[in-house]
């Protein structure tokens, strides 16, 4: 047995020395040592457990889970008990001193206690994964215990449970919470006396447990009654207690300042976190904190970004640089020119050159030409035609009786045509090998019966109007024409006689006109010529 013990202790020590990360790697040696150590611990803890399920830790043929379950079963009540003890010691430090004062008597107990503490540490290491859910389970177990102890309806009060004591404890607790006086009544002292009489630790623990459990349940003095119905009528309060506590807290909070409220809430939360905090409560807490945050944000003055129109003076310096401002850009973002872009462009250019497909601007085909409107310049000379003639021509044109007179453009065209013909004639003359006469340009013009000499002076040498005139136009005479030299005497006489006759007739006419001219003619009325 001693050897075994020694071997087990060695195993324990070994475990202590190994690095925590090594536990993650599966190794048979480590597991063997761990099993040994746990067995030893199990057996050593056995005397202190309130309930004993197993005589020893059964290892052979059991999986790690099963071993773990065994340990768990043993340790849970033990841990509770120890916790209760710790609370008790917390409350009454005198106890501790007294305990240590009685060291001589109960040295073993102290050692054992130390050992217990060590074990407790290890146990706590092993039981790291115990969450708050397990605490709830503890509560349940506690409740079950209490129920077993409580008994029937009438039997609320017991050897252990006394309502007066319950109330007293409650007051004390409240006082502690709110920082008030600790009301020490006879009851607590009585309690202590009771402890001294009986086995201190266990009964303390039990009472503590009871009181704790009662404390947790709070004002539900009648919880025992409800509890009789057990799980069938389970309620929120059974699991999470403290509902009325919270309302009490709130009522007192209203009177206090918000800071106090927060502190108290913190205390309350703290108190609650100690014992019970379900997921729902956690969510509620989160929600409340969020709500508070948002309300606070709403009350505070808004950030400058949310204030609408903000000038530079109203916002902190250089703050606009830190914020992502969104405003409309009137300019298209310039294209980033990368190598790919240029390469693509160059490819395109090469292709186009090879194809010969250049996007040249094509000249738009001009519309079917309308007749060009003549912009007549304002004629600034006095018009040669009278107004009547103008209207006459207009009327003629409108009615279509006569031909429209040549417009200036037509005249210009004719002139141009004429000049061009002349030019062509000259140029063709250069290329003709034989002489070709000029073409006759038919032109209506009046030929005056002027002596050839006069004409020849003006006209060019090649042309003379004499040639143009017909012989009749040159001289028109009737009968046998003779010159003076050719005439006979009789013919001369005859001619002279004719001449005289004509002269006489004319003279007489002249005379008559002279005579008549003095009188006023019939037509002229009053105007003297």
């Amino acid at each position: 047995m001693a050897k075994k013990e020694v071997g087990s202790v060695e195993a324990l020590n070994k475990l202590k020395q190994t690095d925590p990360p090594l536990f993650l790697t599966p190794s048979t040696e480590l597991s063997q040592t761990a099993r040994k150590a746990s067995q030893y611990l199990f057996s050593s803890l056995k005397p202190f457990c309130p309930k004993v399920y197993f005589q020893s830790l059964y290892l052979d043929g059991y999986v790690a889970e099963q071993i773990w379950q065994q340990i768990d079963l043993q340790c849970k009540p033990l841990v509770k008990k120890l916790k209760g003890e710790v609370i008790e010691f917390e409350k009454n430090p005198d106890e501790v001193l007294r305990l240590f004062g009685v060291e001589k008597k109960k040295g073993r107990g102290v050692e054992i206690e130390d050992g217990d503490e060590d074990i407790e540490d290890v146990g706590s290491d092993e039981n790291e994964e115990e969450g708050e859910d397990e605490e709830d389970e503890e509560e349940e177990e506690g409740e079950d215990e209490e129920e077993e102890e409580g008994g029937g309806e009438g039997g609320v009060e017991d050897r252990f449970l006394k309502l007066n004591e319950l109330e007293q404890y409650m007051e004390e607790d409240e006082a502690r919470e709110y920082g008030g006086e600790v009301v020490k009544s006879k009851v607590s002292k009585k309690k202590k006396n009771v402890h001294e009489e009986e086995e201190e630790e266990e009964e303390d623990e039990e009472d503590e447990d009871d009181e704790d459990e009662d404390d947790e349940l709070g004002d539900f003095g009648d919880d025992g009654e409800d509890g009789d119905d057990k799980l069938g009528n389970a309620r929120y309060e059974d699991f999470f207690g403290g509902k009325k506590k919270k309302s009490v807290k709130r009522q007192s909070n209203i009177h206090n300042k918000p800071e106090d409220e927060e502190q108290e809430d913190d205390k309350g939360d703290h108190k609650q976190t100690k014992e019970s905090l379900s997921t729902h409560e956690k969510e509620l807490q989160k929600l409340h904190s969020k709500i508070e945050q948002m309300e606070k944000a709403n009350l505070d003055p808004k950030a400058w970004t949310m204030q609408g129109e903000v000038t530079a003076t109203k916002r902190p310096k250089n703050s606009a640089l830190e914020v992502d401002l969104d405003f409309e850009h009137n300019v298209r973002p310039l294209p980033v020119i990368t190598e790919e872009v240029t390469a693509s462009l160059e490819d395109l250019i090469k292709e186009r050159i090879l194809e010969g497909r250049f996007d040249d601007a094509e000249r738009a085909a001009s519309l079917p030409s309308k007749r060009l409107k003549e912009l007549k310049e304002m004629d600034e000379n006095k018009s040669k035609k009278g107004l009547a003639e103008i209207y006459e021509e207009e009327y003629v044109h409108q009615t279509g009786l006569g031909t429209a007179p040549l417009s200036s453009s037509d005249q210009l065209k004719k002139e141009a045509q004429l000049l061009f013909d002349k030019l062509c004639l000259k140029l063709d003359g250069l290329s003709h090998s034989h002489f070709r006469p000029k073409p006759v340009i038919e032109d209506m013009s009046i030929q005056t019966n002027v002596p050839a000499l006069a004409m020849e002076e003006i006209a060019p040498v090649a042309v003379s109007d004499v040639a143009m005139l017909a012989p009749e136009e040159v001289f028109a005479g009737k009968g046998d024409i003779k010159e003076e030299a050719e005439l006979t005497q009789e013919e001369r006489k005859r001619r002279r006689a004719n001449k005289k006759r004509k002269y006489k007739v004319e003279a007489s006419k002249r005379l008559v006109n002279k005579v008549q001219g003095n009188r006023l003619p019939d037509n002229s009325n009053g105007t003297k010529a």
Binding site: K373, D379, L387, A388, E392, H397
Partner: protein, 240 residues
């Protein structure tokens, strides 16, 4: 008398009184008996009296009248058949209808013709009044448009006529009118619409716009009108 009156009444209001309607046979008799009227001669309109018009001669037109007398006289006497004579003492031209004057309005036309000559128009231009019915003379003064005094007035007159009269001629040619600028009085001879256009141009000149502006406005208006009226036909046939 009653019967005649009755019948005449019937003729006037034929179908108004159905009771009075005669039988068709009797109607034809009525038609036959209806008096036929021939158009009256001018002489008879005034019941044999002779109508006169007198046109006073301003002194500055006296010598031109003497020079152009025959040109005035010939169309009036021979074509319009109206007697025309000059009262030297009163310095008035007198016009008188004759027995064979065909048209009643000819006297008035002749009077207008002579009057326009007195205003300052040439005979060849004034003759248009005799030939065309719808010609009018529109007269206004510079002070009607804008009150100008002294040098401004002189400048306005100068602007109107232009250098050597070219602005005036340009407007005349463009609008088919004849314009006479006599100191502050302006006379325009032409048809109503043409008169208006010429008047607008002259008014803008009086108010101060330069001649070039008036020309360009003219051109634009003419183009617009021509396009609106005859988009296909070219304007070349229209004589300025």
């Amino acid at each position: 008398m009653n019967d005649e009156g009755f019948h005449s009444c019937n003729v006037i209001c034929g179908g108004a009184y159905p009771e009075l309607q005669q039988d068709p046979s009797q109607k034809t008799g009525l038609l036959q008996s209806r008096i036929k009227f021939e158009p009256l001669k001018t002489h008879e309109i005034s019941e044999g009296h002779v109508q006169f018009r007198k046109v006073s001669v301003p002194p500055h037109r006296y010598t031109p009248l003497k020079k152009a007398w025959l040109e005035l006289y010939t169309p009036i006497y021979e074509q319009m058949k109206i007697d025309i004579s000059m009262n030297l003492k009163a310095l008035k031209v007198e016009l008188k209808t004759k027995a064979d004057t065909p048209d009643m309005s000819s006297l008035q036309k002749c009077a207008d013709f002579v009057h326009s000559f007195m205003l300052g128009f040439d005979v060849i231009d004034a003759v248009t009044l005799l030939r065309m019915a719808e010609l009018y003379v529109y007269s206004f003064e510079i002070k009607d448009v804008k009150t100008l005094r002294g040098k401004h007035l002189c400048r306005a007159i100068g602007r109107l006529s232009g250098k050597g009269g070219k602005t005036k001629f340009a407007i005349e040619n463009a609008t088919k009118t004849r314009i006479v600028i006599a100191d502050t009085k302006i006379h325009i001879l032409g048809s109503i619409s043409n008169n208006r256009v010429a008047m607008d141009s002259l008014c803008s000149l009086i108010l101060g716009s330069p001649a070039g502006k008036v020309y360009s406005k003219h051109r634009a208006d003419r183009a617009r009108i021509a396009e609106r009226v005859k988009p296909e036909c070219p304007i070349e046939n229209v004589v300025l």
